[in-house]
Symmetry: C2
Subunit: 335 residues, 2 copies
Amino acid sequence: MGNLMKAVVTTTDKQTPLIDKEIARPEVNGHDVLVKIAASSMNPVDVKQLEVAQATQQERVLGFDAVGEIVAIGADVTDYQIGDRVFFAGELGRTGSNAEFEAVNEALIAKAPTTLSDIEAAALPLTFLTAYEMLADKFGIQMVADGAKGKTLLIINGAGGVGSIMIQLAKWLGMTVIATASRDETIAWVNDMGADEVVNHRENYVEAIKSLGYDEVPYIAVLHSLEQHFESAAALIGTFGHIGAIVQSMNPLPVGLIKNQAASLDWEFMFAKTNAGQNIASQGTALELLTGLVNDGFVKSTVTQTVDGLSAQTIADAQKEVSQGSMLGKLVIKY
Amino acid sequence: MGNLMKAVVTTTDKQTPLIDKEIARPEVNGHDVLVKIAASSMNPVDVKQLEVAQATQQERVLGFDAVGEIVAIGADVTDYQIGDRVFFAGELGRTGSNAEFEAVNEALIAKAPTTLSDIEAAALPLTFLTAYEMLADKFGIQMVADGAKGKTLLIINGAGGVGSIMIQLAKWLGMTVIATASRDETIAWVNDMGADEVVNHRENYVEAIKSLGYDEVPYIAVLHSLEQHFESAAALIGTFGHIGAIVQSMNPLPVGLIKNQAASLDWEFMFAKTNAGQNIASQGTALELLTGLVNDGFVKSTVTQTVDGLSAQTIADAQKEVSQGSMLGKLVIKY
C-alpha cells in the first residue's frame, strides 16, 4: 500500500460532489517532480472545474495552488532536486494539489519564498500568475521595477485574490493604483496592499474616479463580473487603453463603446498556456520573480483565512466560501 | 479674392448634403504646411463624418486622404520645404482635403512615393495607417521585413481598401495571409495583392480554413461587420490570439467566446491618435515606411477607380460608391 495516497476526488453525485479516497501516488518521469503538498489554496477555478468534472463524468483531483517539498524527480529534471521547497499553480489537465502528493512539470514551478510559511506561500501562485500575465502579456508592461512608472491602473474588485496581489505588483511597477472596494474591511485591506485611491464599486465609481482627477485610465483590470462593469470601464478607458478580464461573460457586451478610443478588451486565463502547450516556462520564470519580490519585501502574502487538514469536508467548505464571490484575500488549506 | 479657394462643404440639408463653395484658404502657422491638393481618395469615414456634420449642424470640409505639393510652410516647420510632394491622411477635426488647399501638421505627412502618380499615391495613406497600426500597435508585430515570419493572418474582406494594403504589408512582414473574397473579381484581386489562400466569406469559411490545414489562426483582421464575423473569428482564434476590428459594432457581441483562448479583441481607429494628441508623429513615420516599401517594390497602389474633378457631385458620387460596402480597392478623386 506504499504507493497509495490520500486525495479528495470529484464524484458525479450532486449531493456529495467531493469524497475522500485513497488513490495511486503519481509516478514521476521526464521533467516532472513529485511534491509532498504542505498547503494549497482555493480559487474560483476549482468551483468551475468541479462543474466540468461532474458534467463530463470524470473522477478528478482538483486543487491549483500548492507549496511543498520535492520528494522525487524525473530523469530529465535539471533545475530542482529532492528536498527543494517549491510552489506552483500546476495545470488543468492533471491530478491536482488536493492530495498528499502531486506531480508537476519543473517548468511550472519555482522555489518558494524563504520568508513565508507554507500557509502564506500557498496563497500566491495562481493569483500572481493571473495578475502578472494580464499586466505583462496583455497590457504590454515591462516587468521590471518602475516598468510602468506613473501609469494608472484601475482594479475592479481590488480585495479579492487576484486584486490583492495585483495591487502589490503594480506598485512595484511604479503604477498609480485605484482599487475598488465596498466594505470597511475590504477598504482597509486594499489600502494595506498599497492602493493609492479606493472607490466604491457599489456606487457610481466612474464619477468618483473622474472627481479624483482621473479623466481617463489607460489600464483597467476587471476582476469581477465583466457584464456588470464593462460599461463603466468603457466610460473610463483612455485612447489605446486596455480592459483586462478574467471572469467568463455569458451575455453579449457592447464592445463598440470602446471603438473610438482604439482600445482593447483582453482576456487573461492563466491555464491557457499549459492548455495550449505554449510558452509554459514563462510561468516558472514569473514565479521566480514572485519569490524575489517577496524575499525583497515588495510583496506580502494575501492569505486571510486558513482551514486545517486535507479532506472532502475542508475542500467543500473552502469551495463554498470562495463561490460566494466576495473573498477578501485568499483562503488556504493546511494539510 | 486671392485668399479664397474652391471647396466642397457639408450642409444640413439631407437632399443636398454637399455643395460647392468658395471658402478662405487656410493660413499656415507653427508646424503646419499648406498643400495644393492634386488628388484625394474616398473612405467610409467620409460617409460617417458627413452624418456627424449634419447631426451637429456643422459646415465642414471632409476628405481624409491627399497627395499634393507644399506651397507654404509655417515658421516652425523643419522637415519639409515648399515644392515637396507629400501625402497624408490628416485628422478628423480640421478642414480636409476636399478643397484646393489643405493645412496639415508636418508630423502627419511623408514625401509621396516617386514611383506613383498622384492618383496612385492618393489611394494609400488612410488605409495603410489603419493596416499598420492594427498590426504594429495592436497585434504587437515588429515592423521590419519578415518581422512576423511564418505567422498566419486571416483578413476578412481582403479586397477592400484596408484589406488590399494589409495583404501587401503582411507579406513584407513574412506572414502567411488568408484573405476572404466572394466574387470572381475580388478573388482575382486579393491573389494579385499577394494572398496565399483565399476563402469565401459568404460560405462557411471556418470549415474552409480548417480544411486548408489551419486549425487556428493567431491574428484575425475583421475589416467588415464585426457583428457578422465575430463568432467565426472566435471559432478560429488561437491561444493569446488577436481579433482586430475597424467597423463600429452597434450590437452587443458574445466576447466570452474567446475567454479560454486568453485572446484579445482590439479596436483600431487611425484618428484616435490625433483625436487624443498622442504619439501623432508615428503616423508620419509610418507613411515614410510606406513610401520606402512602394519605392522598393514591396507595395503597389490599390486604386481601382478614378473620378475627375473636385466638385460636390464627384464627392457625392464617390461617397455613394463607397457606402455600398463592397469596394474593390480604392476610389480616387483627381482634382
